[in-house]
């Protein structure tokens, strides 16, 4: 019992609630037959993960998660679904055999990974809370734009080229050729 009460703080209860939301809706979003519902469940998962980051006191990445993932990617997915599918249409049925085989593969993957992960014995760093309290926007900005060790100017610059290439690529692929031909 002492073990239990030690963990029953407000923070930890929130963690368990968020974890339950993530797992349940994550599972629903890969199993539901209606694709728009899957997108909605995915939205819940992403939202709960942002909550998890807030719980870890990493506010900036929580905000990025909310604005980019929940706000951007899910909206993009919903637009795509509405463009290509009739609302509420069911996806094709998957054979039970395939489901079973993939489920067995996934579960054995989980078991193997967890057994090895627990075997390593990860230990929380004792002073983690104090050290993390120092993470503010200034630190993040310096880490992202600095050139010293553990600072990431070069990947930051590379990401800009990457994003430009992706924008151009998706515009090229998504442009409708028929309109171009009419011109």
């Amino acid at each position: 019992m002492e073990f239990l009460t030690a963990y029953l703080t407000a923070n930890n209860i929130i963690f368990f609630i968020l974890a339950a939301i993530i797992l349940v809706f994550g599972f629903l979003s890969v199993t539901t037959t209606k694709i728009l519902r899957a997108a909605t469940y995915l939205f819940f998962v992403l939202f709960a993960i942002a909550g998890l980051y807030l719980l870890l006191t990493y506010e900036f990445i929580a905000a990025v998660q909310l604005s980019v993932y929940a706000g951007g990617i899910v909206v993009l997915l919903v637009f795509a679904i509405l463009l290509v599918k009739n609302l509420g249409e069911e996806t094709e049925k998957v054979s039970c055999q395939k489901k079973l085989v993939s489920a067995i593969a996934a579960i054995s993957g989980v078991v193997i990974s967890l057994v090895t992960l627990f075997g390593f014995g990860f230990q929380n760093n004792e002073s983690a809370d104090e050290l993390t309290a120092n993470v503010n926007m200034e630190t993040i900005g310096h880490t992202l734009m600095g050139v010293e060790k553990y600072q990431y100017l070069l990947p930051f610059e590379a990401a800009s080229v990457f994003l430009l290439a992706c924008i151009i690529g998706s515009v090229v692929v998504a442009t409708n050729l028929k309109k171009e031909d009419k011109k």
Binding site: T116, G119, P155, A165, I168
Partner: protein, 480 residues
């Protein structure tokens, strides 16, 4: 300490090749903007010309030893410079072969073709030179996601769309798997810098698991069996120039990066990844060969042939020695000329007649003797028949593996080389011996692809005999 802006940006000073490529990228972007509809022809010359200059300037870069920038984020040495130069040569050859396609079918999007190709090349540069998993990841994604857009460039063609969908979904999935491995490496080693990972790596079960995930992700990129399922469909559906780019540059850069990471980050426990690689190599070479025999479409045939070639490239990686690195880079260098020669002929014929079937090539010698001759050279070199360059590269890579005592592996690879001779000769037989009712009519190649094919032919014929190349590679290579 960082005092002035000059100190701040001094890290960029040793990134000569990257900066030159970025300049070319901006130039292509602006040229595409200002030349407009009528200047499409000039745009192609501007892009190819500026990139040719960048390629030449790449040969002037030399460091004399290993160098770091951004406190270990970016690593370079003469070997890295050489690999980037090799990638440059390959890209330039692809541009030569793609010229005709860009002039006609792909006219509206030729500027985008050059921009996207060059940005994936920049991604490969960064991936090759990375000293940290973050830069490696960004480089890898820059090299693969715009590539998916390139694969989808034939927008009216269903196959192209399908190939792109398969490519991007498997690429995204494989990078997800690889990231899971990297996250476990980070969790168990406490760093993302390769040298610090190497110090903290102890061969614990969780680290082995992480390495398996990481190797699975890289296996997708290099298309090793059992992660090769996307390869054939994507190669067949993509525009031929893009397939050529994908099969040589993408694979070569990923293989060299894989080698660098294994040598740098995991060198303390080589037996772990060598055991995994051993099985992967055996399965890759064998499965690639067995499937290649059955193919009727030449692009699909070359896809399986390239899977089996990837297995041979891994033979150099498994040895973990300087000789292994030399022979890997040498193999990629020779493979580039050989494979691009084959793709050059295929894209020439496909552009003008639309035929890619093996049966369509029956009697090619009667109508297009020069094309048939170059294709034969390419097939002989891929199969490793002396005295063509492919023989020397295979010989060195076998020597590197045998030097480390991998005799059984070399024996299996040798047996597979004999099987592969059979199917490479099938193509030669189709062109020279089989008779056809309506052979491919005599085609007139455009000047650009003639230049490209000429360079490839010279490469296949004489590169094997120029020993200074191999000696230079030996002098700058490094082991674990």
């Amino acid at each position: 300490m960082i005092e002035t802006l000059k100190d701040y940006y001094s890290g960029f000073a040793i990134m000569n090749q990257e900066l030159t490529l970025v300049l070319v990228l901006i130039f292509v972007l602006l040229a595409d903007l200002f030349l407009g509809e009528k200047g499409k022809k000039n745009l192609q010359f501007a892009a190819i010309g500026s990139f040719a200059l960048a390629t030449i300037s790449g040969f002037t870069v030399s460091f004399g030893g290993s160098q770091e920038a951004f406190a270990g984020m970016y690593v370079t040495s003469d070997m890295h410079v050489l690999v980037k130069n090799i990638l440059n040569i390959g890209t330039l050859l692809v541009f030569f072969f793609a010229h005709y396609w860009n002039k006609n079918e792909n006219r509206n999007q030729s500027g985008e073709f050059y921009f996207l190709t060059l940005s994936t090349l920049l991604g490969m540069y960064l991936m090759v030179s990375s000293g940290n998993f973050i830069l490696f990841y960004i480089g890898l994604e820059t090299a693969s996601i715009p590539m998916a857009a390139l694969v989808a460039f034939n927008k009216k063609n269903r196959d192209s769309a399908e190939a792109a969908a398969k490519y991007i979904l498997t690429a995204a999935f494989s990078s997800g798997v690889m990231l899971f491995g990297i996250s476990l490496i980070y969790g168990s080693c406490g760093s993302l810098y390769f040298d610090e990972v190497a110090n903290a790596f102890q061969g614990l079960p969780v680290q082995i698991l992480a390495m398996v995930f990481f190797m699975a992700g890289m296996g997708f990129k290099i298309s090793l069996v059992p992660f090769h399922l996307w390869t054939a469909d994507t190669y067949q559906g993509a525009p031929t120039s893009v397939t050529a780019y994908l099969s040589v540059m993408s694979k070569g850069a990923a293989a060299f990066t894989f080698l660098c990471i294994l040598f740098k980050a995991f060198h303390n426990y080589p037996e772990i990844w060598q055991n995994i690689l051993w099985w992967i190599i055996v399965v890759t070479i064998t499965v690639g060969n067995l499937f290649a025999i059955r193919q009727k479409n030449l692009k699909r045939f070359l896809a399986f042939s390239s899977i089996s070639q990837a297995g041979y490239i891994m033979l150099g990686v498994i040895s973990g020695s300087p000789l292994g690195m030399t022979s890997t880079v040498y193999y990629i260098f020779i493979y580039l000329f050989t494979n691009l020669a084959a793709f050059g002929i295929i894209s020439n014929i496909e552009n003008q007649t639309g035929k890619v079937g093996m049966d369509d090539y029956n009697g090619l010698y009667g109508t297009n003797p020069k094309s048939a001759f170059i294709m034969t050279l390419a097939m002989f070199s891929l199969g490793g028949i002396p005295p063509f360059a492919g023989f020397f590269s295979k010989f060195f890579i076998f020597a590197a593996a045998a030097e480390q005592g991998q005799y059984l592996l070399v024996f299996i690879a040798l047996l597979n080389t004999i099987i592969s001779l059979y199917y490479y000769l099938l193509v030669v037989k189709a062109m020279f011996i089989n008779k056809s009712e309506n052979p491919i009519p005599t085609i007139k190649s455009d000047n650009m692809s003639i230049i490209g094919l000429g360079i490839c032919t010279i490469g296949i014929l004489i590169l094997g005999f120029i020993s200074p190349i191999y000696e230079y590679m030996t002098s700058i290579s490094f082991g674990m």
